[in-house]
């Protein structure tokens, strides 16, 4: 009796999983979006141009085998554009695997990135660890490039960021949640990488520093490298010391950076950077002649360059390092401290304390 009852109960329970099938769309009825671009169209009625790169699933995985299509639509808002775009494709759009969001340069200049952020952060299926970047000249051209080296559609672009694929010293990585935090935080401003096309690939070696709405400053590749080392402590970077006939170059394997503020009324912002690495390019016997001296020389050169960058960023009126937040955290609950900081920041002095430690000269002396 009991066994029969249990059997019936078990049978009924097995029916439960089948319920899930009723409302779930199969994988072959979905289009996987692999990168999304937002542009500004010049039509004021439908200002947002959304471009989606949709992956075409294929059974073989090989270089150059990745196939995808690009769809574009203009609408009054991003959400409307995406809904409208659905009527141009035959399968349901799935954003769960999309980790690249490209904001057109013109969009940021004309409209800012706030509206795009609202849509991105509101969607439940968009990953907080998506990479956000600025597309140059526009997002569409970055989205529609199909590099030959891709194994899966879209993986070329996301391997460019972070340290999953290439560990590029000039690539700033900004995740969606980090951008959203910087959009609202007092005393911490957003940084976005700038992606453009270069032959059959992406070139992501510059960064843009933004205030809460628009771009204030575009950094060139050398400055981006310095920003990466001083603000984000990115590993596997490079440090060059100008020299005749050829520069002395240190391949930095580890970089650490820490900011600090000293002084009350006339504060000095101190950036402590610790760089470790090997010489990759140097005249023979240079290191053994004066090990400590070379370390100091490289450190001094780095400090000078980094200070130049910091003054440039300060004069643009932005704060991607979070000095302001650090100041607020240091001055507990003082009234009017934010106003005071805003007064102090334009005249603040910077000091970069670089501690370069050379581990060796490579395989030869």
């Amino acid at each position: 009796m009991i066994r029969k009852k249990t059997l019936v109960l078990c049978l009924m329970l097995t029916l439960l999983p089948a319920l899930g099938g009723c409302q779930l769309k199969d994988i072959d009825k979905r289009y996987f979006v692999v990168s999304t671009g937002f542009d500004y169209s010049d039509n004021p009625k439908t200002p947002y141009r959304v471009s989606l790169r949709l992956a075409l699933p294929s059974s073989k995985v090989e270089e150059g085998g990745a196939m995808s299509v690009v769809q574009t639509v203009d609408a009054a808002s991003i959400a409307e554009a995406v809904r409208h775009l659905k009527s141009t494709v035959d399968k349901e759009l799935e954003f769960g695997h999309c980790r690249e969001f490209i904001l057109g340069r013109k969009l940021i200049e004309k409209d800012g990135f706030d509206n795009a952020m609202q849509w991105l952060s509101r969607r439940r299926d968009i990953q907080s660890v998506s990479n956000v970047m600025i597309g140059e000249p526009d997002a569409f051209s970055v989205v529609s490039l199909q590099p030959k080296s891709e194994r899966y559609p879209g993986n070329s672009l996301f391997l460019s960021f972070g340290n999953e694929g290439t560990e590029a010293a000039h690539t700033v990585t900004t995740y969606l949640f980090d951008l959203y935090r910087r959009l609202y935080e007092t005393g911490l401003d957003p940084v976005l990488p700038v992606a453009s096309l270069f032959r059959d690939g992406y070139r992501i070696d510059r960064a843009a520093v933004l205030d809460k709405q628009k771009t204030r400053l575009y950094l060139d590749p050398d400055e981006t490298l310095l920003l990466n080392m001083t603000a984000f402590g990115v590993d596997n970077t490079i440090l060059a010391l100008p020299d005749e006939p050829v520069n002395v170059v240190l391949a930095a394997t580890h970089t650490n950076s820490k900011i600090n503020l000293k002084g009350g009324e006339d504060p000095v912002a101190i950036v402590n950077v610790r760089i470790e690495g090997f010489l990759e390019q140097s005249p023979p016997h240079l290191l053994e002649k004066d090990w400590g001296g070379l370390e100091r020389k490289m450190g001094k050169h780095f400090s000078e360059e980094a200070e130049k960058l910091l003054y440039k960023i300060r004069d643009a009126g932005v704060d991607p390092y979070g000095f302001g937040l650090h100041y607020l955290a240091d001055h507990h609950n003082e009234k009017g401290r934010w106003e005071k900081w805003k007064r102090l920041y334009p005249d603040i002095r910077f000091e970069v304390r670089a501690n370069v430690s050379i581990q060796g000269s490579g395989l030869i002396r």
Binding site: L16, L19, G20, C22, Q23, L24, K25, S121, R124, D125, Q127, S128, V129, G162, E164, Y175, F177, D178, Y180, R181, R182, L183, Y184, E185, T186, L188, G233, G322, L325, H326, L328, A329, H332, N333
Partner: protein, 384 residues
């Protein structure tokens, strides 16, 4: 055997995310959340000490039996019913918030009632078992999820993206504000694992000593600080207030680059499926036993072989109530209800603590209505 007591302390520390404690605290992050933490730690520790030393004096007795020792039947039944309401609503709120969160992140196309149905069926079945089974289920599920949850928490804690300046700013700004009552009530929930002893003391042997009680404030403080400060570190002082599902988004900000799935969110929600099940099972089971204790014929059995039909009925009604609640409520309203529940829970817990102290005094003076002679092992039922 003392480990069963600490399982409760641990899991209540972790489940606070589903009872929306971080949400309440973060919405008050600039006014008095942080300053209420020391109070909550003190109050939570004190309450844990009182309940554990009280129940140590009444081994093998649950709260309903202790009521019967000291109080007239009608008053005992009233108190039991208050317990039923407060325990069962906790389960209903958690079940709804869980199915809501899962509906948003796992399977938005499916009907939200589907998640609720599966989860309610599992909870109903789990809660209607005997106390002993519930305790063992609790142990198994907790051993499965605790290491991985702790791993996620530590991964977040040591992440490079955690902004310590934001955490310092909030800690500094908050500690100077006068403590807020709602935050005290909400944060003391993290310490309230000791309340489960009110029922599960029935399973404790006579010679049980509550050792290692000094770990309670440490465990509670750890979970309290982590569940409040880690989201702030990840989303900054301002943006963190914009998120509704703050912990889901925080775990989504982590990634397992070389894991099977790179989104930590799914692992996290899966673990919280287990934890929610444990929570609903415990609360409904406790509520059910308290309800049954109101009847005259009731014997506090803990190891029946066949569970009585009334268990199914009570848990079935609770599952039905959850559906009714889900039908009439929405996510925002649920947040308000959860806040009200947190406040009520604290007040009732405080009243109970006062009552327990009164009972101790009454026992010393010998004002007992009935004697608390040790009873036989409580198996009962068919085949006992």
């Amino acid at each position: 055997m003392i480990r069963y007591y600490f399982y409760h302390i641990f899991y209540v520390g972790m489940i606070n995310i589903m009872v929306l404690v971080p949400y309440v605290l973060i919405s008050h992050r600039f006014d008095g959340a942080v300053s209420s933490f020391p109070l909550a730690i003190a109050v939570g520790t004190l309450y844990s000490y009182v309940t554990s030393s009280f129940f140590q004096r009444f081994p093998g007795l649950g709260l309903p039996e202790i009521y019967k020792l000291f109080l007239p039947v009608w008053l005992a039944n009233c108190l039991n019913m208050i317990g039923v309401v407060i325990w069962c609503t906790a389960g209903i709120i958690v079940l709804f918030s869980y199915s809501n969160t899962v509906g948003i992140f796992f399977d938005p196309e499916a009907s939200s009632y589907l998640n609720l149905a599966i989860m309610a069926a599992a909870s109903m079945w789990a809660a209607s078992r005997t106390s002993r089974s519930v305790q063992f289920t609790h142990e198994v599920l907790l051993i499965v999820c605790t290491p991985i949850i702790l791993w996620i928490l530590f991964k977040a804690l040591f992440s490079n993206w955690l902004d310590w300046d934001a955490i310092r700013l909030i800690a500094d700004a908050g500690i100077r504000q006068p403590p807020s009552a709602v935050c005290l009530f909400a944060s003391s929930f993290v310490f309230s694992g000791h309340m489960n002893i009110t029922l599960f003391n029935r399973l404790n042997p006579r010679d049980l000593k509550f050792r290692l009680r000094w770990t309670i404030p440490i465990v509670g403080t750890f979970f309290l600080l982590v569940s409040f400060f880690v989201p702030i570190g990840f989303h900054g002082t301002q943006a963190v207030g914009n998120y509704l599902y703050v912990w889901s988004v925080t775990t989504d900000s982590l990634q397992m680059k070389y894991g099977f799935i790179q989104r930590v969110l799914y692992l996290f929600l899966l673990l919280y499926t287990f934890l929610s099940l444990v929570f609903v099972m415990n609360t409904w089971h406790t509520g059910m036993e308290f309800f049954k204790a109101c009847f005259k014929k009731y014997k506090p059995y803990t190891d029946e072989v066949n569970v009585p039909a009334i268990n199914w009925w009570v848990c079935g009604v609770l599952a039905g109530l959850t559906f009714a609640y889900a039908y009439f409520t929405n996510d925002i309203f649920n947040r308000i209800v959860a806040e009200i529940w947190l406040v009520t829970r604290f007040i009732i817990e405080s009243i109970l603590i006062a009552l327990l102290i009164v009972f101790i005094v009454m026992k010393k003076k010998g004002y007992m209505k009935r004697s608390d002679e040790p009873r036989l092992p409580q198996s009962g039922g068919a085949g006992g």
